[in-house]
Point group: C2
Chain length 354, copies 2
């Protein structure tokens, strides 16, 4: 398989390197051939080409089987008056690759749950899989400024069409079938017209195509509450782009270990894009102390979703659990224990896989 | 002063009654005259008039000094295909009274913080005052459906104008001056044009008019994380309508006692509207066990913000703290202790005030 690496900014290159090492170990162990091509995205792409997503990167991704992304952004490119910004690359690659569904598994790790801001009895055992719609909604609708009677206005449009809702709800409902069989759709149908459409379509898709899935609907404001007060009650959650942005970030705090959480962005066909949830962490970039485990777990998702290599994915996930159980910690997840660096953590995963 | 009571649905009438008793006790104690007029809103207004906000209610509110609201809604009026719904009354009264700022204080009560889903050391001492913009943004912009090439689309428009941002930021910055002097503005300026306008305007207002206020900016997804991981770091938070809807509900979980949290909605002049944060709780309506303390604390906000009676407001707040310290609990905030009912809790507050 042909894998594009997009190291990006900050700690991106360091963690993507460990991901690549783990993929190589899997290739050896299971007798696969993975070839890699590294391309520019984000701040480094702006510096080198003026464009946060240069055309050669798009072309390489489109021709690949899967994409592994580190992280983009940093203070260097934060000037609001700049011509372009690293995030533009992120939004654009989602559109170019048709990545309409962002999957974020939120699971607690027994060894790390003591670092959760939530009380153990509330959070322990949480296992949610989010599906965030990623190429529609208010992120991509018409927007602009207008001066009306001398007063400046700014607007952005939240738009959803029936097929946009259908396809992401279908993916989520299918995933629910392979898990606990429960699906929660989150919207704001008591106020927003696109949410009313969302609710109608989701309800119909589940009723007609997934009658075996236990389905319910929660308002986004209520969901923001439930995620804190009873996170264990949810299995698969599907929601629109902006609500998903907020809710999945909220949920990412629950396990108490942001450095452990991967995400996958997938489309109808074509390559998926895999990345850690955390950002480019410019403050620790280059220090060799970033936690590579979220990226390594993103590689497991890559194997599962894009390459359909379930055993290989499970092998990585089991290895990560073993490494944690053996007490290995990067600084971000150390609670008193001695900690090791990025490469040493990669080594530990490789040892278990060997 | 002339106060309109809007009991609404579910437990609304029970808790508003206790609020009124407390206001009466304040009137006696401090030698004021409060007159009341009860009007229809929500589901009961739909049942009796077909309209969730009948014109006589609007007229009475506009002619009043302040409005005390219980709660609206319930399963009886939840049919999505109904001609109108209780929430329509809520959205309409905000617009009719020009209530552009929704204030939500989030404070922990030392006696109740054990019920917080967050660990004590994370949450104890949290004291945030939210300002949510309430009459603009995506709640009130143009919206509708359109069939394009045979595909149904639904849209809603997020719109903000310069003066809409200025006025709510000004209120929030003024409030910060009277507190810890810090203001956080929350937006999604890396994606949304109205958020970029919001950020520019907020920054300018604070720089020009409140140079003494310590100001910072946080993205809405990051804020959803920070509220869980480090809630004590925030003082006053100002944000737009929809982000405020989600973030204030998320924050309402922190103290572990939703039944204790009041909110105020205010405009440039004219009456403010005061209510508990919690809903109409149809499951316990009529049982006499609802917690009236959020409504009683909403009465304190009414006295402070609409009637400028600071001592009277402080007297109510001190009484509620005393009642809690004395161990009195309605079922929702009892942790093992024996509990008392709605009226008995009102009695306890009255005893302290007497
Ligand atoms: C950087 C930003 C544009 C992006 C988003 O809002 O989608 C990020 O928050 C994310 O969730 O991937
Ligand atoms: C009922 C609904 C319209 C309302 C809102 O979203 O504003 C509610 O959630 C609130 O926060 O008061």
């Amino acid at each position: 398989a042909n894998i594009v690496l997009l190291p990006g900014d900050g700690i991106g290159p360091e963690i993507v390197l460990q991901g690549q090492r783990v993929l190589d170990a899997i290739a050896t162990k299971f007798n696969h051939q993975f070839t890699y091509q590294s391309c520019l995205i984000g701040g480094i792409a702006i510096d080198q080409t003026g464009d946060p997503l240069p055309q050669p990167t798009i072309d390489a991704c489109l021709a690949s089987d899967a994409v592994l992304l580190g992280a983009v952004g940093g203070p260097k490119w934060d000037d609001p008056s700049a011509k372009t910004r690293p995030e533009v690359g992120l939004l654009k690659i989602r559109k170019e690759l048709g990545l309409f569904a962002n999957l974020r598994p939120i699971q607690t790790f027994p060894e790390l749950v003591g670092a959760s801001p939530l009380r153990r009895e509330i959070v322990e055992g949480t296992d949610i899989l989010f599906f965030r719609e990623l190429t529609g909604g208010i992120y991509f609708g018409p927007s602009g400024r207008e001066t009306i009677d001398g007063v400046e206005h700014a607007m952005a449009t939240m738009v959803y069409s029936v097929p946009e809702v259908e396809r992401v709800v279908r993916l989520a409902a299918e995933a629910a079938r392979g898990r606990d069989g429960r699906l929660t759709s989150v919207d704001k149908a008591n106020v927003l017209e696109p949410s009313r459409l969302w609710r109608q379509v989701a309800e119909r898709v589940v009723r007609e195509e997934f009658p075996d899935v236990k389905y319910d609907v929660v308002l986004v404001d209520a969901m923001a509450m439930h995620l804190i007060s009873r996170p264990k009650d949810f299995d698969v959650v599907v929601t629109s782009n902006m609500f998903g942005d907020i809710l999945t970030d909220e949920a990412s705090m629950l396990p108490g270990s942001l450095g452990m959480l991967p995400s996958a962005s997938i489309g109808a066909d074509g390559p998926g894009l895999y990345e850690p949830i955390h950002g480019s962490a410019p403050d620790i970039a280059g220090k060799g102390i970033a936690n590579p485990l979220a990226t390594i777990l993103a590689c497991a998702m890559l194997l599962r979703h894009s390459l359909k290599l379930e055993d290989e994915a499970a092998a990585i996930e089991a290895a990560v659990r073993k490494v944690l159980a053996a007490g290995h910690r990067t600084p971000d997840i150390a609670a008193g224990e001695a900690s090791i660096g990025t490469e040493a953590m990669g080594d530990e995963v490789l040892k278990v896989l060997a």
